[in-house]
């Protein structure tokens, strides 16, 4: 049975729709009201507040902690400056992806790692060789993600951190009321946003402060359904949906490499040994076997498929994650889509798909399966630039923003 997060006393009464699901063993809100639409639009127009406590969190300490993490991760995290955060993924010896998450440099000998799946065993496998200790702090630290164009203004009201100077993927140690918190400028929506990390005992005080300060700014409590649509617009992949952790795969073909998942930009090959380096170097030369792309359904074709049955076109009201085959224009299968959503902001029907590399160029014309009136149909789709949602506010500092 899922357990409550430290924010549960606040989220439960707000969750009028009683729509919950199990996220990594915690009861997590899917949507607070019957439809997640308002929560989605809060992310894009005001601010959405989402409980992300179920993320796995680890402390990595020791004089050689940075060196050790650089060996585990495909990204050279020794390049991190103090208080900098990096998005990264990590691989097995064969260059197959194990998980993705963030690495924060809190101090010279103190790092934190967030992960989608329990990773203590993986992260501590060779820790002793580096005199590094890895501690699971997942149950001790609660986390809230505050995402949306108003998130900075709200946080500024409750904390004393200089958020105007806090750059994208940096962190600040600060206070909210009496609570000591860490604020990272990170998130899973592709929008301006922050994540607030706080000890369990101070969790409710932080929720109250953010919630009360946020209401005049249009803040809405948000659930996983809304975040799922936002992350697809932002082109972010999800462990367990768009790929599977290599150690959990029964068959080789289920595993993926960072290059296949469009995470090649994370891989720093030319540096001392790291886990999976040799395999990744080989793949960098030969090229990946498939490539993750963003597909946009051709709307006219989509409408035609429904019109054949006398129906107006219907789009799925939430992000879907049941895989669908992808074809070339002649109808031969060339890949599969793993998740997708109608983008309410861009007015486009999107899917994330893994396709043969020669089909992965932008503008490439493919087809994707659509079920219309119990009949399997193929709808034209085009490979489009990822991410589809992009806004300068996500990465910029206020002084560089136009009014």
């Amino acid at each position: 049975m899922p357990r409550p997060s430290p924010f549960h006393p606040r989220t439960a009464p707000l969750c009028e729709a009683l729509r919950w699901k199990d996220w990594a063993g915690y009861a997590a809100v899917c949507s607070y009201t019957t439809y997640m639409e308002r929560e989605y639009f809060a992310f894009r127009h005001a601010a959405g507040l989402i409980d992300v406590t179920p993320l796995c969190k680890y402390e990595v300490r020791g004089a050689r902690a940075g060196e050790y993490l650089a060996w585990l991760m495909v990204r050279d995290v020794t390049r991190l400056k103090p208080n900098q955060v990096a998005y990264t993924c990590w691989c097995d010896e064969h260059g197959k992806i194990v998980d993705d998450g963030t690495v924060w440099r809190l101090d010279d000998d103190w790092y934190r790692v967030t992960a989608a799946e329990p990773s203590l065993a993986w992260l501590s496998r060779f820790a002793a060789d580096f005199d590094v200790t890895v501690t699971d702090v997942g149950d001790r630290i609660a986390a809230l993600s505050l995402q949306g164009p108003r998130s900075r203004a709200i946080l500024q009201q409750v904390g004393d951190a200089d958020l105007d100077a806090l750059r994208f993927f940096y962190l600040a140690r600060t206070r909210i009321g009496a609570a000591e918190v860490i604020v990272t400028r990170t998130g899973y929506t592709g929008d301006l946003g922050y994540e607030v990390w706080v000890d369990n005992e101070d969790a409710l005080a932080v929720w109250d402060a953010l919630y009360d300060a946020g209401r005049p700014h249009g803040l809405a409590p948000a659930g996983l359904d809304a975040m799922d649509v936002a992350r697809i617009e932002a082109g972010f992949i999800m462990n367990g949906v768009d790929y599977y952790s290599a150690p959990h795969c029964l068959i080789e073909s289920r595993k993926n490499t960072p290059y296949e998942l469009d995470l090649g930009w994370l891989v720093h090959l030319d540096r001392p040994d790291f886990l999976g380096q040799a395999a990744l170097r080989r793949e960098a030369e030969t090229g990946p076997a498939e490539k993750l792309v963003c597909l946009e359904y051709d709307w006219d074709d989509y409408e035609r498929l429904f019109a054949r049955h006398g129906l107006p076109p219907e789009v799925c009201p939430y992000a879907w994650r049941d895989p669908r085959p992808v074809f070339d224009v002649f109808g031969n299968q060339v890949g599969y889509a793993t998740s997708g959503a109608w983008s309410p902001t861009m007015k486009r029907n999107l899917a994330l798909a893994l396709v043969r590399p020669e089909m992965a160029d932008r503008g490439s014309r493919l087809k994707i399966e659509v079920m219309v009136e119990y009949v399997r149909r193929k709808c034209l789709a085009t490979v489009v630039e990822k991410p589809v949602f992009r806004d300068p506010r996500t990465r910029s500092l206020p002084q560089h923003e136009s009014v």
Partner: protein, 530 residues
């Protein structure tokens, strides 16, 4: 030598849409806007510091989804936030909120009539099927009955086929829809006055008709189609106000190379050798172009911008008889805090949609009675939205903007249209008093107010007689009759003069369709190639 392939008079959302499509096809286009801001009636202005009003048009629903995609408007800043619900308070302290949640809506309606709650789905199915048919009509240029040209025949065949596919029941319904009043039409499904009244108002918005006037059922469908996202959906707010729709379209037009000038009022259309050849600005500057496209209403276009000698008497007669008859006003408020309804306190979902003061059919009909004789309604129909609740960019934190659409406020005031300024503040008081009956603290929460009478809409926004749709959406002025019989294809009797505003098919609302279809017609015809 003409510098431009086309000059567009007026930077309203249709003019900009037309410009964007022409520029996208490689034409050299100049848009001339009289005011300092673009958008015409789809405009956002910071009327009071910190408070941005959608001054005139305040919700988006009919903007064609393919236009959003084809012009990539989302990338140019267009974001539409759906309205969550429709709320009506009643004088007896009860209220009704209809939302996207079907079960909750059913429960709410069942509080007035259990039968009505169940029939709502049947009503929706019928109207959705009808909307689907009518969509064929509005996404194509107006049909030309009687024409034997192959393209015309093809279009009529397609329409005929679509009509046939509706089946006899819906064909009959379609005829009824075209001829009935909104109330009679709703009577076919529903019994409770409390439900029918707020539904019927869709049939009178922007018309000088009452909910019991024949023909209003069609207008009801026109609004029901409120379509965003490509699926048949509800209405929405544009982030930053409706001006952002215009700004996004302008952004697209500029990217395709269109030139846009503001504070450049056009005085007249230049006519040479019997065809439009350019414009003369109020400043005296002459600009030549191969085509002139008017985004103004038919009266402004044909009676003010062009010397009437260029038109024959029959056409001029039709245009003079074309009904504008503005019947609505607008009150915009800057609020110190969010006022509450006595019957349903708090800032729940009922506050985030549209709020109607339309408690009964008789209330609405009485409001019309007064308007018939040149008085504004002493208790008008109000359509209220509070966009700052979902879009905090339009007001300082904790403060709000409220937009109140008011009907009836007849342009033809009993004391004459020019008497409106004398009545403006009393009219504003009437609106506040009406809403104040349901929102007791409203008066104390107001920081600033802006009152727009139909006279103001004409003077400030160039909407003749204050008509928000460039002419009534009544049957005798729609489709192949809009704006005049034989001239529904954006062409005008003056060669190389085109009409691209809401006074052309398929009509008003933030739809973009007249602008788009005008541009596509121009590009198809040899005149467009210049």
């Amino acid at each position: 030598m003409s510098q431009y392939d086309a000059i567009i008079i007026g930077g309203g959302h249709n003019g900009l849409t037309c410009a964007a499509y022409l520029a996208r096809a490689g034409r050299k286009v100049l848009v001339l806007e009289r005011r300092h801001v673009l958008g015409g009636a789809a405009v956002s202005e910071e009327v009071f510091p910190g408070f941005t009003f959608s001054v005139c048009s305040y919700v988006v629903s009919l903007l064609r989804p393919h236009i959003i995609r084809e012009l990539d408007l989302a990338r140019h800043g267009l974001q539409i936030i759906p309205l969550e619900s429709s709320f009506v308070p009643y004088p007896d302290g009860r209220s009704l909120n209809r939302s996207a949640d079907p079960q909750e809506t059913r429960r709410e309606i069942a509080g007035f009539s259990a039968r009505d709650a169940e029939r709502l789905d049947e009503f929706r199915v019928a109207l959705t099927r009808m909307s689907h048919f009518v969509k064929n009509v509005i996404d194509n240029p107006a049909a030309a009955p009687g024409s034997l040209r192959p393209a015309e025949l093809w279009q009529q065949l397609r329409l005929g086929k679509a009509l046939k596919e509706l089946g006899p029941d819906l064909q009959h319904l379609h005829m009824q829809l075209l001829t009935m009043s909104a109330v009679d039409f709703l009577d076919m499904w529903f019994e409770s006055d409390q439900l029918k009244a707020p539904m019927a108002v869709s049939g009178i918005i922007g018309t000088y008709l009452g909910v019991r006037s024949p023909g209003t059922a069609y207008v009801l469908l026109h609004h029901y189609m409120g379509e965003i996202d490509g699926a048949f959906r509800s209405w929405g707010f544009a982030r930053g106000g409706t001006g952002q729709v215009s700004n996004a379209i302008a952004g697209a037009a500029r990217r395709y190379g269109a030139e846009i000038r503001t504070e450049a009022p056009v005085a007249e259309v230049l006519v040479r050798d019997g065809q439009a050849a350019g414009v003369v600005l109020a400043s005296g500057e002459e600009i030549l172009a191969r085509n002139v496209v008017s985004n103004l209403d038919p009266h402004q276009t044909f009676l003010k911008m062009v010397d009437p000698r260029h038109f024959d008497g029959d056409f001029l007669g039709q245009i003079r008889r074309y009904k504008l008859r503005g019947s609505s006003g607008k009150v915009n408020l800057a609020l110190d805090r969010l006022p509450e309804f006595a019957c349903r306190p708090g800032d729940g979902p009922h506050m985030r949609g549209d709020i109607a003061i339309a408690p009964s059919i008789d209330y609405l009909e009485k409001a019309y009675d007064e308007a018939k004789y040149g008085q504004y309604s002493s208790r008008p129909y109000l359509n209220v939205v509070i966009p700052s609740l979902v879009d905090p960019s339009v007001a300082p934190p904790g403060k709000h903007v409220m937009s109140i659409f008011v009907q009836y406020a007849p342009y033809q005031h009993a004391d004459g249209p020019a008497a409106w300024p004398e009545h403006r503040e009393a009219f504003g008081d009437t609106v506040i008093d009406t809403l104040g009956e349901y929102m007791p603290t409203l008066k104390d929460d107001i920081l600033h107010r802006q009152v727009l009478t139909p006279w103001d809409l004409e003077q400030q926004f160039g909407l003749t007689e204050g008509n928000i749709f460039h002419g009534e959406l009544s049957l005798e002025q729609l489709a192949f009759l809009r704006p005049a019989a034989g001239w529904a294809r954006y062409r005008t009797p003056l060669r190389r003069l085109w009409l691209c505003g809401s006074g052309a098919h398929p009509g008003g609302g933030i739809m973009g369709a007249p602008g788009e279809l005008c541009a596509k017609t121009m590009l198809k015809g040899s005149q467009g190639r210049g």
